[in-house]
Symmetry: C2
Subunit: 239 residues, 2 copies
């Protein structure tokens, strides 16, 4: 398994949440193949905990559509290349919504300041080649935008896709940091562009920034999703 998460305050989470995070990681990194059937008892033995937290974990993953709870065991659903495209689509949808709301506010200075600060931190993370730190800052960047309008249901929706995105970005960034370090400049630039679009209230610019990021992340560059081996695994999944 790809080294799992950085131990980032997991200690204060319940065992169920920890197991969920671990299973999520295993599913998204293809350690657990799609179609695998998980039994509460076996997981209970494997993780050396009782069934209660295991059940909690499976419910969490069910909500994220990573497993399907059936009469007999929890079937791993996993994620395909198409799904990865789609989850980025959804984030774009959320941020477009937010952007339009921001246009109606007279003052977004606070948000812009925060975004620039996060951007600086992303640069530092690149400088020190810390893929994990970069990933978390990346997530924080987008979360900051999305939460800036204090829209309850937008927040709920975001919280629903966040864990999966976090895993995907971590996986991707770790891969890039190893193999395609030059990518990060482009990613940074795209984020800078995004801030500027908010500053200038320029919808076109925002869409361009998104389009570029979309392209850079998923197609033209050396991301994990462009890795034929990984992609094959990902594509075969739902076959």
């Amino acid at each position: 398994m790809n080294g799992f998460y950085p131990r980032k305050r997991w200690s204060e989470a319940s065992i169920g949440q920890q197991v969920a995070a671990h299973l999520r990681w295993r599913i998204l990194s293809k350690d657990l193949e799609s179609g695998t059937v998980l039994s509460e008892n076996r997981l209970s033995e494997e993780y050396k905990v009782s069934r209660s937290p295991i059940r909690e974990a499976l419910r969490i993953l069910e909500r994220e559509d990573l497993v399907q709870l059936k009469r007999m065991g929890a079937k791993v659903i996993g994620i395909t290349a198409k799904d990865i495209d789609e989850i980025y689509d959804v984030r774009l949808m959320l941020e477009s919504f937010v952007f339009k709301q921001l246009l109606q506010k007279e003052n977004n200075d606070e948000l812009i300041k925060n975004l620039y600060m996060i951007l600086e931190m992303m640069k530092v993370a690149v400088k020190y080649r810390d893929a994990d730190e970069f990933s978390f800052r990346d997530i924080e960047f987008h979360e900051t935008i999305i939460q800036s309008i204090h829209h309850r249901y937008i927040g709920i929706l975001w919280s629903n896709i966040k864990p999966v995105m976090e895993c995907l970005i971590l996986l991707d960034m770790r891969h890039r940091m190893e193999n395609h370090h030059e990518d990060f400049k482009r990613v940074i630039d795209n984020h800078a562009l995004l801030i500027q679009s908010i500053e200038k209230r320029d919808l076109r610019l925002m869409e361009e920034a998104f389009y570029r990021n979309f392209h850079d992340v998923k197609k033209n560059s050396g991301g994990l999703w462009a890795n034929p081996e990984f992609l094959k695994k990902v594509t075969d999944d739902h076959g």
Copy 2:
């Protein structure tokens, strides 16, 4: 409490899901006031079941942001008038996204056929003054649109807001059926307009249909949200 749900195959759901549905109803119908602290033990006694399903129920409601799980008890968050506005916003966002995807398909006949069928059923429900049936068909109508593009994460997001929307619509429609029966013609018309916009691939028409429905549902007509007494309760909540 407002009569609760019609007993619609609840039997096959687990106790936890049933309790969650019941609590959701109590929260959204303001039977349980915002700020109330629920204890697993007390709920366990009240519903005459063990803590296991109660815990499951509370986790479900936490994901829907209806309660906040704290160290000591689960605090009811409830819902405000602003929240109701926002959840409709979010559904509009989802359906706009879907609409744009539908524009790229060459053939939406199947979807359109299904929508017309559901619309007919809504008319029948009105004719027989069955508010519950109407509500479920209404939900089904929108769900049919949203699921039509088979977009995994859009589906997940919808499943997240669906239970709350279902409750809200049920509450609202029951109220209208009693007090403002004439409203239903307008609602039907708006839905017909929405189908036509898909048929004609007319984005403007869709937005108009949405705008009308939005207005009819929440502002100009005799819905529950226009009921000063209920609205006061709703507004005071987060105070």
